[in-house]
């Protein structure tokens, strides 16, 4: 219990620091941000923006105001030649896309990594094992965006199997949805596959040494059944925890992959905001991503602490 409390305190401290940093971003901008955001706008609009930014106020006031706005869901406006659109609206549209992509990437990585991990653990030391080990290492060396581009070219452009850009929501057309998410998900998953496979492999090798595995074999059960029904479950704890935590780590790569495949998620939105110098929107987006990341890690940390005694027990 005390551990959870400590983590909660830690969470508050971190959130404070993160929001402080983000809230003061606009005040750290060199030059006049108003012209950057809406240089084409009317004087009245510029005054509106200036008010919102409140750059003349002392920093603590700026911070409090920003937090207040953020908590109320007021993320500012996104300015373009056609006018202002609330950032919150755009976030609401973009968030599901990003979440879907990150989820698919993790699931895909697990689906591929688990059988590979099992197989290489069973045949540890064999040529197959060493070959997949080398491949895994190679996979880690490929930057996600580079893989995304290569895939986009060979699979998308050359072979024409999958579309290279655009997004279709699952409620519209499920198949098209997956066709468009396939390459982005693969690009993100490949690096993960390498890590997960090796993680599972080493846990399984340890499990396969245990007595109950020998006992299961002595019952006359086929090796496949022993591997999948007996050895896999106790070995998969670390893997699943890591997979859960890793959802957040892919944020940076997800942003880039979204841009490459023109998926309208938070990453693309962020990119747009930077290019269009929409600093208010940029600030809000960074806040959302950072806070989301912090909360996600917090939840997984708590979960791990809760599961830990049972994990230790299950392994005993």
């Amino acid at each position: 219990m005390r551990a959870v409390l400590r983590q909660a305190v830690h969470l508050v401290v971190v959130l404070f620091c993160v929001t402080l940093f983000v809230a003061l971003l606009t005040s750290m901008l060199p030059g006049d941000p108003v012209n950057a955001i809406a240089g084409f706008g009317t004087d009245a609009q510029k005054e509106q923006i200036r008010d919102r930014l409140g750059l003349d106020d002392p920093l603590p006031v700026q911070y409090v105001r920003w937090v207040g706005d953020f908590v109320r869901g007021d993320l500012g406006d996104y300015w373009s030649v056609t006018g202002a659109r609330p950032v919150m609206d755009r976030v609401r549209e973009a968030l599901p896309v990003s979440l879907q992509l990150m989820l698919y990437a993790q699931v895909l990585a697990l689906v591929v990594a688990i059988p590979l991990g099992v197989a290489t653990a069973y045949r540890a030391g064999s040529r197959f094992d060493r070959a997949s080990n080398a491949t895994a290492f190679g996979m880690l060396a490929i930057p996600n965006f580079a893989l995304a581009l290569v895939l986009a070219y060979y699979v998308g452009v050359q072979a024409g199997w999958l579309p290279v850009s655009g997004y279709v929501s699952p409620s519209e057309d499920l198949i098209e949805h997956f066709r468009r998410m396939a390459m982005p998900a693969i690009a993100l998953a490949v690096g993960q596959i390498a890590v997960y496979m090796r993680l599972l492999r080493s846990d399984m090798i340890a499990t396969l040494q245990e007595d109950f595995i020998t006992m299961a074999k002595a019952k006359g059960i086929s090796p496949r059944r022993v591997l999948w029904r007996h050895a896999l479950r106790p070995s998969s704890l670390t893997l699943l925890t890591v997979a859960g935590l890793n959802v957040g780590t892919l944020i940076g790569s997800t942003v880039v992959v979204e841009v490459i495949f023109s998926l309208p998620g938070l990453g693309s939105l962020l990119f747009e905001a930077i290019t269009a110098r929409q600093y208010i929107a940029f600030q809000s987006l960074v806040a959302i991503i950072a806070i989301g990341y912090v909360l996600l890690n917090f939840m997984v940390d708590v979960l791990y602490a809760v599961l830990d005694p049972r994990i230790r027990h299950a392994r005993a």
């Binding site: 060199p30 490929i142 930057p143």
Partner: protein, 327 residues
């Protein structure tokens, strides 16, 4: 023989995590995992700390690109900014241009070599910054422990609470993407931003190693002999911590090179027209259909470099980890 258990949670050096603000430092971002060397993926030779064929190849590649990058101004290659309209987007081999032309008609080979300068410069300087600052802070945290340790580790944790790339992106956007940003400012901010992002990683590794080395007897002996804290820290502990730091630094350079690539794709990497591997890819994106070589060539170069750095990083770590555990 069963594989030693891969422990993604342990800091290198095996020091027990003191109760920091983050009670459980389970998983790090995959980048960090790689950077912290949490997942050794190399073959048997590397795990034993030996170079092997792959090691030699890796060193050769790195030496090659560093040499090319350093010697770029005096090499008999085209000016990287010179535009030759006829070779624009032409595949490798056109008119004696071995690697073809880029989107505007500049020679790819020369842009890649000059790109090595930018990418490697950013990579090494950022990591150096992280190494010096992070290493120093980590050393202090690990050596003095107590209040300083808590503060510093807390600082590291807070920095780590931000997704790495997003933090770098934010810093560069805020400080160096305005209309009047010069090349110098942008590069400096890039290096600083990526350096700042590396500080907590290197800091924690250094701290963990320092903790474990401080427990050894020769440190106690030095103290008993009346040596000053600073002397002990720098003369006794630091030399032993350096190898682990070096290994992480190698991995870190790889991470930064990739990060610069990502930032370039998002428009905030090395400013054009100066080439870097990342921004060549970014430029080439629009011509992927017609001139894929513009994207593929720098991709291959990055891949080989990252591979070589990862491999050597693992070899260095294996060599020095083995010695530590033998003690």
């Amino acid at each position: 023989m069963p594989e030693p258990k891969v422990d993604v949670t342990a800091d290198v050096g095996g020091a027990p995590e003191l109760p920091s603000l983050t009670p459980i430092t389970t998983v790090q971002p995959v980048d960090l995992v790689r950077a912290e060397g949490g997942v050794p993926l190399t073959g048997a030779a590397a795990r034993r700390g030996k170079l092997g064929v792959m090691g030699i190849l890796s060193i050769s590649w790195l030496v090659l690109i560093v040499a090319l990058a350093v010697l770029a101004p005096v090499l008999p290659i085209e000016d990287p900014n010179k535009i030759i309209a006829s070779i624009a987007r032409q595949p490798p081999g056109t008119d004696g241009h071995i690697l073809g032309g880029d989107v505007l008609g500049r020679d790819m080979l020369s842009r890649l070599i000059w790109g090595a300068r930018a990418s490697l410069l950013i990579g090494t300087l950022s990591v150096l910054l992280g190494l010096v600052l992070g290493g120093l802070l980590g050393l202090v945290a690990g050596y003095f422990r107590g209040r300083w340790d808590n503060i510093l580790t807390g600082g590291f944790d807070i920095l780590l609470s931000f997704p790495q790339l997003i933090l770098a992106l934010t810093l560069v956007t805020v400080f160096a993407s305005g209309a009047g940003t010069t090349y110098g400012v942008r590069m400096s901010v890039l290096i600083l931003a990526l350096g700042v992002v590396s500080i907590p990683v290197l800091g924690r590794i250094t701290r963990a190693n320092t903790l474990s080395w401080c427990q050894r007897e020769f440190v106690l002996a030095a103290r008993a002999l009346g040596a000053k804290q600073r002397e002990i820290m720098f003369k006794e502990v630091l030399p032993n911590v350096l190898p682990a730091m070096f290994s992480i630094a190698l991995l870190g350079v790889a991470v930064v090179i990739v990060a610069e690539g990502g930032l370039s794709l998002l428009g905030v990497g090395t400013p054009l027209p100066t080439p870097s591997w990342g921004n060549i890819i970014a430029e080439g994106r629009s011509e992927l259909r017609n001139a894929p070589h513009i994207v593929i060539e720098p991709t291959i170069v990055i891949f080989l470099t990252v591979f070589a750095l990862n491999y050597l990083g693992d070899v260095v770590r294996a060599r020095f980890d083995v010695r530590e555990s033998a003690l």
